[in-house]
C-alpha cells in the first residue's frame, strides 16, 4: 500500500517536471499571466518551508550524537578504550568503567527476550490462526493498548507487586536447581526481577509486530497447505514462519531495542548496586538505571562525562539494533508486497 502510494506520488512529481509548471518560463508560456508565476513562487516557498522543518528534525535528532560525544569527551580521554573493559564503577574513587552497567543491560534484556519471544509468538499465533474472527479484533486492540502503557507503571507495579511474589514463590524454586546463576538469597529485587518486568513490558509490543507480520502471509499459501492436509501447527511452522522469518527477527530486534534502552521499568527493581555478581538474583545496575540514579547528583568533573559516555554507548548499541531491525522489517514488508 505504502509502495503504491509512493509510486503514485512519484508519477505526480514527474508530471510536474515534464510540464515544468514550476519554472517561470513555462508559467509564462502556458498561462501568460502573472498568476502562474505567483503560484510557482508560492510553491517554491512552500517546498522550502517544509524542507526546512524536515531538515530541522534531522539536525535535532542527529545533533544528539554530537552532543553526547562532546560531553563524554573528558571521560573518553581519561579512560580511553579502558572505559569499555573497566569493571569498576566507583564515584568515590573517581574510577569509571562500563562493564557493570553494560552487563546489567545485556543480562536484563536477554532474560526479557528469553521470556517475551516465546510468549509473544504464542500470542501472535493465537490471534492470527486460532482465534475466532470476532475475538481477534478486541484482543488485538487490548494488546496494542497495553503496548502504550508508560514504562513507569510497569516498574512501579514490579516493585510493589511482582518483586514480593518472585521473592517468595519463584526464586526459591529456581534456587533449588542449584545453578550458580540462581545462587544467593532471594532478595526480590535484582537483575532477574528486572528482566521479568522488562519481559512483561515488551510482550505486547513484540506480539503486535509479530501479528502484523503474520498477517502478510497470502491466504492462498496457507490454504494450499491446508488443502494438502497440514495441521494448523504445521501451517504455522512450515508456511507462516518461513515466509515471515525476516519480519519476525526484525520484530524481536525492535523489542530488544526497547528493552536495552528502557529506564523506568528497570530502575525500580534492579537494586542499584555497582558490582558484578554471577548470580542473577543479586542487585545490579543497567546503563539506563545508572544514569537515572546518579545523574542528577553527579560531580561535573569526571562523573558526569562518564555517565555521558555510558549514554553514548547505549545510544550506539540501540541505534545499530534498531537500524538492523528496521531494515529487516522493511525487507519483509517489501517482499510481501505491502
Amino acid at each position: 500500500m505504502t509502495n503504491a502510494a509512493m509510486a503514485e506520488r512519484t508519477t505526480i512529481d514527474a508530471a510536474f517536471d515534464r510540464t515544468a509548471y514550476t519554472t517561470p518560463q513555462a508559467a509564462r508560456a502556458n498561462v501568460g499571466d502573472s498568476r502562474g508565476r505567483r503560484f510557482a513562487a508560492q510553491d517554491r516557498a512552500f517546498v522550502a518551508i517544509t524542507r526546512f522543518f524536515a531538515a530541522l528534525v534531522l539536525v535535532a535528532l542527529t545533533g544528539i550524537l554530537v552532543a553526547l560525544v562532546v560531553e563524554a569527551w573528558p571521560a573518553l580521554r581519561t579512560f580511553g578504550a579502558g572505559f569499555l573493559v573497566g569493571t569498576t564503577w566507583s564515584p568515590a574513587d573517581d574510577v569509571y568503567g562500563a562493564v557493570v552497567a553494560g552487563y546489567g543491560t545485556i543480562a536484563t534484556s536477554a532474560i526479557a527476550l528469553a521470556i517475551a519471544v516465546p510468549v509473544s509468538f504464542g500470542i501472535a499465533v493465537f490471534l492470527t490462526e486460532m482465534c475466532p474472527a470476532k475475538l481477534a479484533r478486541p484482543l488485538g486492540i487490548a494488546v496494542e493498548l497495553l503496548a502504550g502503557i508508560p514504562s513507569i507503571i510497569y516498574g512501579f507495579w514490579g516493585l510493589f507487586v511482582l518483586a514480593p511474589v518472585l521473592q517468595t514463590q519463584v526464586q526459591p524454586l529456581l534456587a533449588a536447581s542449584g545453578l550458580p546463576i540462581f545462587a544467593g538469597p532471594p532478595l526480590g529485587i535484582g537483575v532477574f526481577t528486572a528482566g521479568v518486568v522488562l519481559a512483561l513490558m515488551v510482550v505486547p509490543f513484540v506480539a503486535s509486530v509479530m501479528r502484523d507480520v503474520f498477517q502478510t502471509v497470502p491466504p492462498v499459501l496457507k490454504e494450499s497447505a491446508y488443502g494438502l492436509g497440514c495441521t494448523t501447527w504445521e501451517v504455522v511452522r512450515h508456511v507462516v514462519l518461513p515466509y515471515t522469518r525476516i519480519g519476525v527477527v526484525g520484530g524481536v530486534m525492535l523489542g530488544l531495542g526497547r528493552a536495552l534502552g528502557e529506564t523506568m521499568a528497570v530502575t525500580f527493581v534492579i537494586g542499584n548496586a555497582n558490582r558484578l555478581s554471577p548470580s542473577l538474583f543479586a542487585p545490579g545496575n543497567s546503563i539506563a538505571s545508572t544514569l537515572a540514579n546518579e545523574f542528577a547528583e553527579a560531580d561535573p568533573v569526571l562523573h558526569i562525562p562518564s555517565l555521558f559516555a555510558l549514554g553514548l554507548l547505549l545510544f550506539v548499541i540501540t541505534f545499530v539494533v534498531l537500524g538492523v531491525a528496521k531494515w529487516l522489517v522493511q525487507r519483509s514488508a517489501a517482499r510481501a508486497g505491502v
Binding site: 505504502t2 502510494a5 506520488r9 512519484t10 505526480i12 508560492q42 510553491d43 512552500f46 517546498v47 522543518f53 524536515a54 531538515a55 528534525v57 534531522l58 535528532l61 542527529t62 544528539i64 552532543a67 553526547l68 560531553e71 510468549v119 509468538f121 504464542g122 500470542i123 493465537f126 494488546v143 502504550g148 502503557i149 508508560p150 513507569i152 507503571i153 510497569y154 512501579f156 507495579w157 510493589f160 507487586v161 512483561l200 510482550v203 505486547p204 495441521t231 494448523t232 501447527w233 504445521e234 525492535l254 534502552g261 528502557e262 529506564t263 523506568m264 530502575t267 525500580f268 544514569l291 537515572a292 545523574f295 542528577a296 549514554g311 547505549l314 540501540t318 541505534f319 534498531l322 537500524g323
Partner: protein
C-alpha cells in the same frame, strides 16, 4: 506406522496450539493483573486532596499531587504546541515532496530510529544543551525533551496519513489550477485531518508518561510553581521519588499518581482509536 505418524502430527498440533493459547492467557492474565492492582490501590488514593494539595514534606501527613499535575500538564502542553507544527510540516515534506529524494529517505530512517530510541538519551542531550548551559534545571528543558520525543510520532503519522490520500483527489485539485501548496494543505491534509489529530493524540499519550528524560531536565519541585524557568514538579518523577520513599502516605500518593497517568494514557489511546475509526468509515 501410518497411524503412528498420524498421531504424532495430531499431538504436535494440539500441543503447539495449546501452548499458544496458554501464552495468550498468561499474557492477558499478567497484564490484567497489572491493571487490576494499579486501579484497585490507585483509585483508593483518589480524593479531592489529590488534585488540590501540593506534595507533602517528608514526615507530614496528607498532601496531594496538585503541583505535579499542573507541572506535567504545562510541560506536555508546551511540548505538544511545539512538536505539532514542526512534525506536521516535516511529515508533509516527506509525503508530498520526498518520494524520490535521498534527503527524505535519510530523514525517514532517522525518524524511525528515534521513535524507539532510549528516551533517557534524549534527556542527556537536553541536559547538555539546555541545563548545563543555563546552569540549572527548568520546566522549559523538560518540555524540550518531551517535544523531541513527540516530534517523530507526529512526523510519521502525518506522512503515513498523507500517503493514504488517493492520487485522483490531488489530480482533480491540480486540474482546477490549484498550486501545489494549496493541494497539500487544503486538499490532502484536510482529507486526513482526523488521522493527523490521531497522531498528535498518540504523541501526547506517549509523552504524558515519560519519566526518564525529565529526571535530569525538569527535575522536581516540592512546591507549587507555574514558572517554567525553575525546576518543575511533574507526575512521573514524583511517582518515582515517592515510590522509592519509606513514607506510607508518599507511597499512597505514588499509587494514585500511577493510576491517574495510566487512566489518562489509556483514555488518549482509546480516543485516538475511536476518532481514527470514525474518519476511516466516514
Amino acid at each position: 506406522m501410518d497411524a503412528f505418524l498420524y498421531h504424532r502430527r495430531k499431538f504436535a498440533n494440539v500441543a503447539g496450539l495449546a501452548l499458544s493459547a496458554a501464552a495468550m492467557s498468561v499474557g492477558l492474565a499478567a497484564l490484567g493483573w497489572i491493571l487490576w492492582t494499579l486501579f484497585a490501590s490507585g483509585l483508593a488514593a483518589f480524593g479531592a486532596d489529590l488534585f488540590l494539595e501540593s506534595t507533602p514534606a517528608p514526615g507530614t501527613q496528607g498532601g496531594g499531587l496538585a503541583n505535579a499535575i499542573v507541572g506535567s500538564a504545562m510541560m506536555v502542553a508546551f511540548a505538544t504546541f511545539v512538536a505539532t507544527p514542526i512534525g506536521i510540516l516535516a511529515g508533509i515534506h516527506l509525503a508530498e515532496f520526498g518520494a524520490r529524494s535521498r534527503f527524505a529517505s535519510i530523514t525517514r530512517f532517522v525518524t524511525d530510529i528515534m521513535l524507539s530510541a532510549p528516551s533517557i538519551v534524549i534527556g542527556l542531550f537536553v541536559y547538555a544543551i539546555a541545563v548545563a548551559t543555563v546552569g540549572h534545571f527548568s520546566g522549559w528543558a523538560g518540555s524540550l525533551a518531551l517535544a523531541l520525543i513527540a516530534i517523530p510520532v507526529v512526523v510519521r503519522t502525518t506522512e503515513n496519513m498523507l500517503l493514504l490520500v488517493p492520487g485522483s483527489l490531488r489530480e482533480a485539485a491540480f486540474a482546477l489550477g490549484a498550486p501545489r501548496w494549496k493541494v497539500s494543505l487544503a486538499v490532502a491534509l484536510r482529507a486526513v485531518r482526523g488521522g493527523v489529530v490521531t497522531g498528535v493524540l498518540l504523541a501526547v499519550a506517549r509523552i504524558a508518561g515519560e519519566t526518564a528524560p525529565l529526571l535530569f531536565t525538569a527535575l522536581n519541585n516540592q512546591f507549587f510553581t507555574a514558572d517554567m524557568r525553575a525546576p518543575m514538579a511533574n507526575l512521573p518523577v514524583v511517582i518515582y521519588n515517592f515510590a522509592m520513599s519509606p513514607y506510607e502516605n508518599w507511597q499512597q500518593l505514588a499509587w494514585g499518581g500511577a493510576a491517574l497517568i495510566a487512566l489518562v494514557v489509556l483514555g488518549l489511546n482509546v480516543l485516538a482509536r475511536v476518532m481514527f475509526r470514525d474518519r476511516q468509515r466516514g
